[in-house]
C-alpha cells in the first residue's frame, strides 16, 4: 500500500528533515510514527500526502510513485488519502454537515451522493444529531471527529493523521483512537504520527520510531519507548509522565500493555 524507498527530505538545502527512509506499510496496517519533536514524523506524513516532494528517493502509494508525480496528478492522489491534523482544519463558517459535504462537493460528487454519505459518516463518528452545529459550538473532541469524518467520507485507502490527539485531553483522545481503530477495521490503512505514550502503549500496534530523520525502531506490536532494534544513540526519556497512560487504562479497565479492545463498545456496525 505504501512503500518508501530511500526517501530524504532536505529543507532549504541545509536542514535534513528525514534521511534515507525505507518503510513498507501493508494494506490494513495501523502504524504509529513516534519520536521527539523534529524527528521527522510530520515530514514523513507530509511526504506521504505529497504536501512535500522528497529531495531524494521514491514513495509509492497505492501503486503510484508520488514523489515525482506532476502537480496536476496530485489531486487524484489526495482522493485516496484522507488526512487529519492536530488543529482540525474545519471551516468556521460552515456547519458540521457542510464541512463534511465540502470534501465530496469539491471533488465533484453529485448532491445525492453528498446527501447519502454525509449522514452515514456523521453516524459513524457519533455526531448524527449535530450536523447543523458550527465548529465553534463543538468541543475539541467533537471537532476532531468532524475532521475524521471529513477525511473518511470519500472512503480513502489510507488515513494519515498528524498528532490527531495533540490538542485533546486523554479521555477525549481515547474516543478519537476508537474511531481511528474502527476505520482501520474497515480495511483502511492508518498512519498516525503521535507523541502520546499512553495511546501507543495501549493500542499495541506497529510502532515506527524516528530520530533525527532516521528510522531507529520498527516493532510490529510495539510500545512508545521500546528497545531500539537499530543502532542509535540513546535518547533520554523526555519527561512526559505516564499519568495519561494510567488514566487511559483506568478508563478502558485494561491492564497496561494489553491491546485496547474496542469492539465491545462500538461494534462493527455499518462501516
Amino acid at each position: 500500500m505504501i512503500e518508501v524507498k530511500g526517501a530524504t527530505k532536505i529543507y532549504d538545502k541545509t536542514t535534513v528533515a528525514v534521511r534515507d527512509i525505507d518503510l513498507k506499510i501493508n494494506k490494513g496496517d495501523f502504524v504509529f510514527l513516534v519520536g521527539p519533536s523534529g524527528s521527522g514524523k510530520s515530514t514523513l506524513i507530509r511526504l506521504l500526502m505529497r504536501e512535500e516532494r522528497p529531495t531524494e528517493g521514491e514513495i509509492y502509494v497505492a501503486g503510484k510513485e508520488i514523489g515525482g508525480m506532476p502537480d496536476s496528478k496530485v489531486p487524484f492522489h489526495r482522493r485516496v488519502v484522507g488526512t487529519v491534523f492536530q488543529d482540525f482544519k474545519l471551516l468556521p463558517n460552515k456547519t458540521v454537515f457542510e464541512n463534511i459535504a465540502f470534501a465530496l462537493e469539491v471533488i465533484g460528487h453529485p448532491r445525492h451522493v453528498v446527501e447519502s454519505q454525509v449522514p452515514k459518516v456523521l453516524k459513524l463518528v457519533g455526531l448524527a444529531s449535530k450536523g447543523d452545529r458550527y465548529p465553534r459550538q463543538l468541543s475539541g473532541g467533537e471537532q476532531q471527529r468532524v475532521s475524521v469524518a471529513r477525511a473518511f467520507v470519500n472512503r480513502p485507502l489510507i488515513l494519515l493523521a498528524d498528532e490527531p490527539t495533540g490538542n485533546l485531553d486523554p479521555a477525549t483522545s481515547v474516543g478519537i483512537m476508537r474511531l481511528l481503530d474502527r476505520i482501520n477495521r474497515t480495511g483502511t490503512t492508518v498512519v498516525m504520527a503521535t507523541h502520546d505514550h499512553a495511546i501507543v502503549d495501549a493500542m499495541r500496534r506497529r510502532v515506527v520510531e524516528l530520530e533525527r530523520g532516521r528510522i531507529v525502531r520498527d516493532d510490529s506490536r510495539g510500545v512508545y519507548e521500546g528497545l531500539r532494534t537499530m543502532e542509535v544513540p540513546a535518547v533520554p526519556a523526555n519527561g512526559q509522565t505516564d499519568a495519561s497512560t494510567s488514566e487511559l487504562a483506568a478508563d478502558e479497565s485494561l491492564p497496561d500493555g494489553t491491546p485496547m479492545s474496542l469492539e465491545s463498545d462500538i461494534g462493527m456496525g455499518n462501516a
Binding site: R50, P75, H77, T83, F102, V106, I107, G108, N154
Partner: protein, 289 residues
C-alpha cells in the same frame, strides 16, 4: 451543480471585495474607453483622409502668358509618369467655379473680377506617394506662379491625429497594465481571504482547475464589466458628439458595423485582461499542487 457552484463562488468573491473590484472595473473601463475612442478617431481620420486622397489634385496657378506657354506646361506635366491627368483650367472656368463655391456670398462674387482669377493646371496623380516630387517639379516651371495642394493641410491633420492616436493608445496601454495589476490584486486578496478553504480543498483532492476557476471567472467578470462599460459609454458618447457638432468636411458618420466589430474587440480585450490579471494573481497558486 458545478457550474452553479463556480459562478456562485466568483460572485461571492466579488461581493467580499467590492471596493477593490470596483477599482479594477474602473481601471479596465478607462483604459478601454481610451482604446475604443482611439479606434473611432482613427477610423474617422482614415475615412476622411481616404476621401481627400481620392483623386488628389495639385493645382498650379499660372502666370499671365500666352495660351501656347500654358499648353506647353500642361503637356510637359502630362508626360511625367506620376501624373495621371493634367488639365487646363481657364480663367473663365475658374471664375465659374468661384461663383459656385461661394454662391451664398454675393458680396465676394461682386468684389472679384474674373480677370484677376488666374488660370491653372490641375493635376490628378497616378501615384499619390509621388505627390511631393510632382509639387516640386511643377514649382520649377517658370510659367507656374504658385503650387497648392490639399495634401499640405492633410499632412498637418494626419500628423496631429497620429500624435493624438499614439497618445491615446499609450495611455490606454498604461492604464491597461494598471487594470491588469488591479485585477491581479483583487484576485490575490480573494485568495488570501479564502486561503483556509483553498487549503482544505487541496487537502481533500479538489482539482487545480476547480480551485482556480472561480478566481479566473472573477477576473473575467471584472474585465468584461469594464469593457462593456467602455463600449457603452464610447458608443453613446460618439453618437452624442455626432449629434452635437457638424464638423463639415470631416466624415464622422461611421457605419454601425464598425462600431460593433470594434466594440466586440474591446470586449474581448477586456476579457483577456481580466483572465490574464487573475492568472497573474493566481500564479503562486498555480504552481503549488
Amino acid at each position: 451543480m458545478r457550474a452553479e457552484y463556480l459562478i456562485g463562488e466568483a460572485a461571492a468573491n466579488l461581493r467580499r471585495n467590492l471596493l477593490l473590484a470596483i477599482g479594477a472595473v474602473l481601471a479596465v473601463f478607462i483604459s478601454l474607453l481610451m482604446t475604443y475612442a482611439a479606434l473611432i478617431v482613427g477610423e474617422i481620420t482614415r475615412t476622411t483622409t481616404l476621401q481627400w486622397q481620392e483623386g488628389v489634385t495639385i493645382i498650379g496657378y499660372l502666370h499671365e502668358a500666352d495660351l501656347a506657354d500654358h499648353t506647353a506646361v500642361i503637356e510637359k506635366a502630362e508626360s511625367w509618369p506620376e501624373v495621371e491627368t493634367a488639365t487646363y483650367f481657364s480663367k473663365a472656368q475658374a471664375y465659374e467655379e468661384f461663383k459656385e463655391l461661394f454662391a451664398n456670398r454675393d458680396r465676394w462674387i461682386e468684389l472679384v473680377e474674373p480677370a484677376k482669377i488666374p488660370a491653372s493646371v490641375r493635376i490628378v496623380l497616378a501615384d499619390t506617394e509621388a505627390h511631393r516630387a510632382v509639387v516640386d517639379q511643377l514649382a520649377k516651371e517658370p510659367t507656374v506662379r504658385k503650387v497648392v495642394s490639399p495634401e499640405d493641410n492633410l499632412n498637418d491633420v494626419l500628423t496631429v491625429s497620429k500624435f493624438l492616436n499614439f497618445g491615446a493608445i499609450l495611455l490606454g496601454a498604461t492604464l491597461g497594465v494598471s487594470a491588469l495589476v488591479l485585477i491581479a490584486n483583487t484576485v490575490r486578496m480573494a485568495i488570501y481571504a479564502r486561503r483556509e478553504e483553498i487549503g482544505i480543498m487541496k487537502l481533500v483532492g479538489a482539482s487545480n482547475w476547480f480551485v482556480r476557476t472561480p478566481f479566473l471567472l472573477e477576473g473575467l467578470i471584472e474585465g468584461l464589466l469594464g469593457a462593456g462599460l467602455a463600449v457603452a459609454v464610447g458608443w453613446v458618447g460618439y453618437q452624442w458628439l455626432l449629434g452635437s457638432f457638424d464638423i463639415g468636411v470631416i466624415e464622422t458618420d461611421l457605419p454601425t458595423s464598425f462600431l460593433l466589430s470594434r466594440g466586440m474587440l474591446v470586449l474581448l480585450f477586456g476579457g483577456v485582461v481580466g483572465v490574464l490579471g487573475s492568472a497573474v494573481g493566481l500564479r503562486r497558486w498555480l504552481k503549488e499542487s
